[in-house]
Assembly symmetry: C2
Homo-oligomer: 276 residues x 2
């Protein structure tokens, strides 16, 4: 089996490293629009060999798209014409718009997947072999995909050590807006508030553990997150509403010195300990 | 030198463990209102010996208050009458109200301090020797304190490996509202929004790294944080305003599909990488 990975950053590079351990795979080809990324990926051994886009399109049995979600939409159009046996797996963080804009001739080939794992770092140097191990990967709208393609994706993901969850694309985008995309909006907002009010010295001295933890994902790539916010705009706006409702309730209790209510509200939130 | 630690939870217990390595100290006494905490602290070896409150008040050279901030206010009143040579170090997360409510006869003895380190866990079992090592500790309002008491506190904190920062209490409460207390309000709000909308299965599957990181501090003790919110209420309300301004700006750019503006805003926030 010949594998092609388009996009050799954090996700694509980590996938390449993990797949290099798989005996089912003959060779892993890599392509990146950025020549520097491609060179770094080769030096780091993230894939077996660097090639061009056309080579992957023509020769690979499985093609992974590990690029920003707007680039996935554009790249799927360039992949029109691949053979019926070619499996295309996109690893974008949004799913409905990618599926809606996928050329009809490729809907049979395309596995819309989303690995629920990342770090705030990006690029080939951020990749590491263990990133995807143990992570959930969501596979969306599987009933429209050729069965052989689904089986192939399931085999590869499970061999990497990932936990597979099937979900329709609308649900995926709805739930990830709240659980994954909203936290990024919040982190960017918190960091913006702190940076606009505080000097470097106070931030370094007082950051402690809490601010540093909350600020971590504001270090993420703005390019990648802009695309996600674009594609999942309406769900994200709804999630912001839900968050702002809670924040307004908290503010009201603070204003009214409603300490019993505030204690109750915090105790309810603390039940997250039973889940995570 | 005889040390007394009142409150044997995460902070008091970790301090006890760290001080047990110090050759300058003859004995570390511990007291906790909860008999179970006291027993656990003894079993875990967090202090040399458990005793009652009065013993610490009468015999210790340095008394640490590692209890919730409202309890610090009450306990300072109980400490009236200690000798002029007794150093009292409170480790609360707010400072202005503690100083304002301190009996005048103790203002000379009291070091209002705030170690900028914690975890979401509490109680004696959460304590560990390395917690405070390398952490910043803020010492407030030092001009009203007896010089010998300041020197003693500086020696102890620096021997534990802490980084000392001097700051007036009003500044401390203003800055920590934004950098430390606001992140807790945000985390409680995010978790409340997610718990009210999502079931356990979706949370477990989709939490990835970002939600888990943002939700961590919502697992903190509501008792402790309620007291902090009470004592720093007005600064906290101002910080919420500043955060909500940023969130509203983000929402407006999303609503207007102002992608250039959103990209710029995220890129500005990302500059936190240069600081943290």
């Amino acid at each position: 089996m010949q594998i092609g990975i388009i996009g050799l950053g954090l996700i694509g590079g980590s996938l390449g490293l993990a797949l290099r351990d798989m005996k089912l795979i003959d060779k892993i080809w890599g392509y990146d629009l950025s020549e520097q990324n491609a060179r770094e990926a080769q030096e780091l051994g993230l894939v077996d060999e660097i090639c061009d886009f056309e080579y992957i399109k023509e020769h690979c049995d499985v093609i992974f798209l590990a690029i920003p979600v707007d680039a996935i939409v554009a790249t799927l159009k360039r992949l029109e014409g691949v053979g019926a046996m070619t499996t295309i797996i996109d690893l974008g963080s949004t799913k409905a718009e990618i599926i809606a804009s996928c050329p009809p001739s490729l809907r049979y080939n395309l596995i819309p997947a989303h690995p629920m794992r990342g770090t705030e770092f990006s690029g080939p140097k951020a990749a590491f072999r263990e990133l995807l191990k143990g992570a959930v990967v969501v596979i969306c709208d599987d009933k429209n995909i050729g069965e052989s393609h689904v089986k192939r994706a399931v085999e590869i993901f499970s061999h990497v050590g990932m936990k597979i969850v099937f979900m329709d694309a609308a649900s995926h985008d709805h739930h990830t807006a709240l659980i994954s995309h909203l936290p990024h909006v919040i982190s960017f907002s918190l960091v913006s508030a702190v940076l606009s009010e505080e000097n470097r010295v106070n931030i370094v001295n007082l950051a402690g553990g809490s601010f540093e933890g909350m600020a971590r994902i504001a270090k993420s790539s703005p390019e990648m997150w802009l695309d996600i916010f674009k594609q999942n705009r309406q769900n994200l706006l709804n999630s912001i509403d839900e968050f702002e409702e809670q924040m307004a309730a908290c503010r009201k209790m603070l204003e009214n010195s409603d300490w019993a209510g505030l204690y109750q509200w915090m105790s309810e939130a603390r039940k997250i300990r039973e889940i995570l």
